[in-house]
Symmetry: C2
Subunit: 505 residues, 2 copies
């Protein structure tokens, strides 16, 4: 029996042990990790693992791009994060020099907000659409004169498109907490004294809420002299911000568009984001958030993005797109009747797809931004009880619109929705309706996708139900089919774009 056999010998070379001791003295916290690395492994696999070697190869590439500390040309500045390397000449930056009070008790002493615009602000300044992004997007929603690259919503924004720039002046910001020009954990905190060295926030950055992100945006609107938005538009986390904007300042937001969003993050979506944060924070390079002077947690970021990608698409899409197909082999087996030996590294196309998505993303975004912004999504909850626990007092709704109904047909107010969209309304629905009451007089478009597993359609229905229960009789509600899952808002120009265009007109 295997278990009764003698076990493999463990060897530690004396010189290596000496090094361990030295390192331990210098860096006590790292010692156990180092010790684990220098156990000499005398067995080795006859199998190759390109997916594992990829992490080390990536690390070598990053290290080789860091200026050598011993070369005469060495600067004193350390590496710039890769995502920050393009010079920020392609967007505008609003600098807010005063403090921004935050939901969870602290404040930012000042902040920057990157933004881009499309279309022309009219004389009355009443044609403004504020566009909110998903978790990791920049302000570059569409190409501009400053940056001709396609934006993340290129097909939705432009002359004659769903968000028609012949009619509207569109503003998109990089979200507070992000890493594409707005203040976030990778930003330098204002120096405490003139003699102290500048330092990045790292995890000394305060926990943000979706409301904080929107508050910062209203400061930008103030700066631009824009009193009232024609509409607030967003998808995914942007839908949360869109709703929060209409809630925070009902009198300043004409219409609200929420696409594949949520008014109350569910434990299921928290779980998926928790899994991402966990793999990221377990990467030793994350170093509790202080990695800006060394290697970023690139492996953790890749793993996190792989998990995220699973939540962005849907099983039915993968059934159609990948099925059980395998990657092409560099040297296909040619022997007749030969059985292909499966690899433990990515082999199915679904695996190579996820691997590729992770690899593409892992150096493009700041790990701490991912942690803080995904946490803000988890924390989002517009039930009255949750808002009250944050000392957020619901403002009054905007004044009810003048009825355009013919006389003799008084405008009807619903005490409860005409019919629940969901046959089994959740217990928190009245609480959510009470929380959403500031939006009672704001026209709202709710659009959801039946194959979305991250913001499931039940959450879309409960949002619409709660708004109607709050007395809103201007809720437009659509559900889309299709197989694109959460990413539908990026892809389905015909249906998503059509619904937006109809609602805005």
């Amino acid at each position: 029996m295997a278990l009764s056999m003698p076990l493999t010998t463990l060897v530690i070379l004396p010189v290596t042990a000496l090094i361990v001791t030295a390192v331990s003295t210098l860096l006590a916290t790292a010692s156990s990790r180092l010790a684990s690395r220098i156990l000499v492994r005398h067995s080795s696999s006859t199998v190759s693992f390109p997916c594992v070697d990829a992490h080390q190869a990536r690390e070598s590439r990053i290290l080789s791009s860091i200026p050598s500390q011993t070369s005469p040309d060495a600067t004193e500045t350390g590496p710039e994060p890769p995502y920050a390397r393009p010079l920020p000449t392609s967007y505008h930056t609003y600098h807010h020099s005063g403090p921004l009070a935050l939901t969870y008790g602290s404040e930012l002493p000042s902040f920057d907000m990157a933004y881009e615009t499309w279309g022309t602000l009219n004389a009355k300044k009443d044609n403004v659409i504020l566009l909110h992004t998903g978790l990791s997007a920049s302000s570059h929603a569409a190409s501009t004169e400053l940056n001709s690259a396609d934006g993340w919503w290129e097909k939705f924004i432009g002359p004659g498109k769903a968000i028609d720039t012949d009619q509207f002046f569109v503003i998109c910001t990089n979200v507070l907490g992000g890493c594409y020009g707005s203040t976030g954990p990778s930003s330098f905190a204002p120096a405490i004294s003139s003699s102290s060295a500048p330092a990045r926030y790292g995890t000394n950055f305060p926990v943000l809420s979706i409301f904080d992100m929107v508050s910062a945006q209203f400061h930008l609107l103030d700066h631009l002299g824009i009193d009232k938005l024609y509409a607030s538009v967003g998808s995914s986390m942007g839908a949360m911000q869109s709703l929060a904007a209409g809630w925070l300042r009902p009198e300043r937001v004409g219409k609200v568009v929420s696409i594949s969003g949520s008014a109350r993050s569910s434990p299921g979506s928290v779980a998926m984001r928790f899994a991402q944060r966990s793999v990221l924070m377990a990467d030793p390079n994350w170093n509790k958030g202080f990695y800006y002077d060394g290697l970023p947690p690139h492996t953790g970021m890749k793993l996190a993005r792989q998990i995220a990608t699973i939540t962005y698409r849907s099983g039915p899409e993968w059934d159609q797109r990948f099925g059980r197909m395998l990657r092409d082999l560099p040297t296909p087996a040619t022997a007749v009747g030969a059985v292909r030996v499966p690899a433990l590294c990515p082999d199915f196309l679904i695996e190579t797809y996820l691997d590729h998505q992770g690899e593409q993303f892992c150096l493009k975004y700041d790990a701490n931004s991912l942690i803080y912004i995904s946490k803000a999504m988890d924390l989002f909850d517009m039930t009255l009880s949750a808002l009250e626990s944050l000392n957020l007092t619901p403002p009054l709704p905007a004044p009810a619109p003048t009825s355009s109904a013919p006389s003799g047909s008084p405008k009807r107010r619903y005490a409860s929705p005409p019919a629940h969209l969901t046959p089994h309304p959740p217990a928190h629905l009245p609480d959510l309706a009470a929380g959403l009451s500031p939006l009672a007089n704001t026209p709202v478009l709710i659009l959801g996708v039946q194959s979305d597993i991250l913001f499931p359609v039940e959450q879309q229905r409960e949002m619409a139900d709660a708004l109607r229960m709050a007395g809103n009789d201007s809720v437009r509600y659509y559900e889309l089919g299709g197989v694109w899952g959460h990413d539908t808002f990026l892809l389905d120009v015909l249906n998503v774009g059509g619904a937006i265009r109809g609602f805005l007109s």
Copy 2:
């Protein structure tokens, strides 16, 4: 603007650099990782991260349990994996001294198979139920005289229970590739020569298929003199094995029970298992599968289990069980109106639940077993085209049972199922029906759960449809509601147990 400010200084202590050089010489492959660790980080967080410290604390505990190499008592054997520490006196072991040919072309020179039994084998040896486990379970399905601890299916097996040990002789094995007594990657490979040191397989272990696992079980049955099973029963991966057993030897398997299984792994389930393997293989301690003489990849295992747990339960259960509740704080805020500052480490109960599940599991199971067995699940595909690509020729079905129908009512054979369970049968359904043809005359119970996201109900329906299309008119098919998701088979004694009992009687 933040980006134009001077950057943080990077410092490398000379003595540390010297050590890097020495270590690099010794262990070239580890050098870049080491270099990354000894960049001196001079910023630090004012926030504590107990979820990150937990990984180091666990590592210290494991290291302190490894016998010191310099102490006079040091053995030459290295640490025993924690999961293997209980002595294997609580199960039987069948040793197969001959080679086992494997699906993917190689062979195991010999193998062990751990098993436990319940009930009494009758004189005809025709009351045997072979029970197959899910991915990580041991042979300990229920308590025995040798091991009084509750088993993983304790409530389902025993006198008068769903699997009635007053009637049946039940055998449960630890799966081939596992780490609870059966041969797997953590086992020692037979020595090539008498002078060579014994070495564990690690990732030199061959890739396994579900069919290989079942082949090994048939060798055990041969050894026990059991010609024919009354039934083959399994849930999750066990359901795949159960189906494979009936397929491989139709004449030796009387009935097949498949609970929350699949006849063809979908890309969606492959994706979830790929995410688990990825985080595990990215743990530097995994070391391409050769960690048995040092620290196991405990952090990777914890992260993998967190992801797995998300797939085992369901969002609706978490809505009910956790909602948006937060963990109790060690020192609750008492100030009136104080806002609780959220933690980036687990704070919501859903997060602490996932964290706990990962922590509990991470040292209980062998990482390589997880990789190999989850891969075998991904590879499982009973379409005829997939079977043919493995040179697996479908055997003939068992002889059709003598009709018990009254004369004048001839037994009807279906050319196609009487009605598809799924309104949109997948394109591969005829291929799957052809593949499953050896089971045409075997009574099969298919049971699925509507809230299962890992083995979704569509897969249950396609299995039943395909069997009926293959001419099987003894398919019993149930769908369960409820919120327990994939784990329903472990929890729902009333419905799952009842269906099994009814089918077996």
